[in-house]
């Protein structure tokens, strides 16, 4: 075993070994640019990758300004240069002398191809999108059981509404196993039908890490799901294919938690408001009907003395009873029925009968005289006509029952 004493000596040795390696001293490599930053001194720091690996690169100002292309993220390039070890930072990078454009990057090409295929098939159609339930009893989550994502979702959901069940389907959310596990999660929930909504979530990551969600199988499983699916992959502005197929796309896992649960307080408030409106509406409704009835109640036909003197008092009593019951909450009469009664009462009003030429007789106390037996010759009586009365004295009485005998 060789003892290096210090990190400086070790790093110095690594740097020397790398520069001694002829394969690393002069090389070219193809990759896709996944980061690209130009420093204030016009050097460019960038990285290139394939679908599994990434390496940092630098191109210094002198070489960069001589380039025929303007490199950018997503561009597939061939980098010429040497591998260099930076001992102070302990990092390996390619020091590039030149960069050539190789056409669109592989991953972007894959993405675009799949995007177009699924779009043409109609998997992204808005007509296929399902509504997210306002109050799911149970929320299915497909994500890693070890990451921060599940706790973010649980905590968000709990904060907004403590009355919910969450069922996690643990799945890898990166690497080769990711698509198969995410698909089996979506299928599990659809088979068991034990959740009302599914969230497929993953925290932020690099383009490569998120790339497994650009999977045709996942897209088809989401499309086939009869349970609404919310996608929450990475953080805004990352978009993967699943985001286009899902019924709703959430910018972050936390946003998915907020989206899936209407706030308990908000819902409670809305129910209370509706209950209050219900009371106000029924009160106003009864009130308006009561006012309509009061108009009839105060009608002068119901208050004339002649009316009270008649046997129609009973009708009034009945009407009163009805009016009283109408003022209560369990009103059963309608205004139109009352209107009919009013018309009938008008027809029966004695005042109207008198107008047609009839009259009636009252004794000196004002009581109606309905029989000749109630009076005798010489009594004073009033004959009531429609527009006044005549004071009269009985001169002769003819009783039908007496066979016409005058003054027995």
């Amino acid at each position: 075993m060789f003892d290096f004493d210090s990190v400086s000596r070790l790093n110095g040795y690594i740097k020397q070994s790398l520069s001694d390696n002829p394969y690393l001293a002069e090389l070219s490599v193809v990759g896709e640019i996944s980061q690209y930053t130009v420093s204030s001194r016009d050097h460019a720091y960038f990285s290139i990758k394939d679908d599994q690996c990434v390496i940092n690169c630098v191109i210094f100002a002198g070489n960069r300004l001589g380039l025929k292309i303007e490199p950018e993220v997503g561009m597939k390039v061939k980098v010429y240069g040497s591998v260099d070890f930076y001992p102070q930072g302990g990092k390996i990078q390619i020091v590039a002398k030149s960069i050539e454009d190789m056409g669109a990057g592989d991953l972007h090409e894959q993405f675009n191809k799949l995007f177009k295929k699924l779009q043409d098939e109609g998997l992204f159609d808005s007509s296929h999108k399902k509504n997210i339930p306002v109050l799911p009893k149970r929320i299915g989550v497909v994500t890693s059981s070890s990451g921060k994502v599940i706790s973010d979702i649980v905590n968000t959901v709990r904060k907004r509404n403590p009355h919910h069940d969450i069922l996690l389907y643990p799945a890898s959310v990166q690497g080769a196993e990711c698509p198969a596990e995410v698909i089996s999660g979506i299928k599990y929930f659809n088979k068991e039908k034990n959740v009302d909504v599914i969230i497929v979530a993953r925290g932020g990551g690099s383009y490569e890490e998120l790339f497994c969600f650009n999977d045709e199988g996942i897209a088809r499983a989401v499309y086939a799901s009869s349970i609404p699916v919310i996608s929450a992959i990475g953080h805004e502005p990352d978009y993967t294919i699943i985001d286009y197929v899902a019924d709703v796309r959430a910018a972050t896992p936390t946003a998915a938690g907020e989206m899936v649960i209407a706030s308990y307080e908000d819902q409670k408030k809305e129910i209370d408001n509706l209950a209050l409106n219900l009371e106000i509406s029924i009160d106003q409704f009864i009130d308006s009907r009561r006012k309509a009835l009061d108009v009839f109640k105060n009608h002068k036909a119901l208050h004339s003395p002649a009316f009270y003197a008649s046997e129609q008092k009973a009708v009034v009593r009945e009407l009163r009873t009805r009016l009283d019951s109408l003022s209560g909450q369990f009103v059963k009469q309608t205004a139109s029925e009352i209107n009919e009664i009013k018309v009938r009462l008008d027809a029966l009003n004695p005042g109207n009968v008198l107008k047609r030429g009839y009259s009636y007789v009252c004794d000196k106390d004002g009581n109606a005289v309905e029989s000749v037996k109630r009076v005798k010759r010489g009594d004073s009586v009033s004959i009531v006509l429609s527009d006044g009365s005549l004071l009269s004295e009985i001169k002769e009485i003819s009783d039908k029952d007496d066979g016409g005998n005058k003054d027995a």
Binding site: P133, V134, L135, K137, R138, S145, S146, G147, K148, I150, S151, D152, V154, N155, R158, P162, H163, H164, D165, I166, L167, L168, Y169, P170, Y188, Y264, Q267, K268, E270, I271, L274, A275, N277, L278, I280, S281, I282, Q284, F285, I286, S288, R289, F330, V331, K332, Q333, T334, A335
Partner: protein, 80 residues
């Protein structure tokens, strides 16, 4: 209205019917009999919605892929 039918109604459907009921009643273009029926139905819906809002149980579980059961999942308030 049978109780089982109400249980099958989603919370959204109950809320939608409640909103509709209140609107109809507040417009006042119904007969007295109808208004009372609406009122009674409204009161019923308010309690159905409240029950639905409160009935769920806040269980946090994870699917056990080995045997297909669902086991409680412990999540700390601050995150894993």
């Amino acid at each position: 209205m049978p109780e089982s039918k109400e249980n099958e109604m989603s919370y959204e459907a109950c809320m939608a019917e409640l909103r509709q009921t209140v609107n109809k009643l507040s417009e006042g273009k119904v007969t007295l009999d109808e208004s009372l029926k609406l009122y009674e139905r409204g009161i019923e819906l308010v309690s159905i919605c409240e029950n639905k809002l409160n009935e769920v149980t806040a269980r946090i579980e994870a699917v056990n892929k080995a045997n297909g059961t669902t086991d409680p999942l412990n999540i700390s308030e601050t995150g894993v």
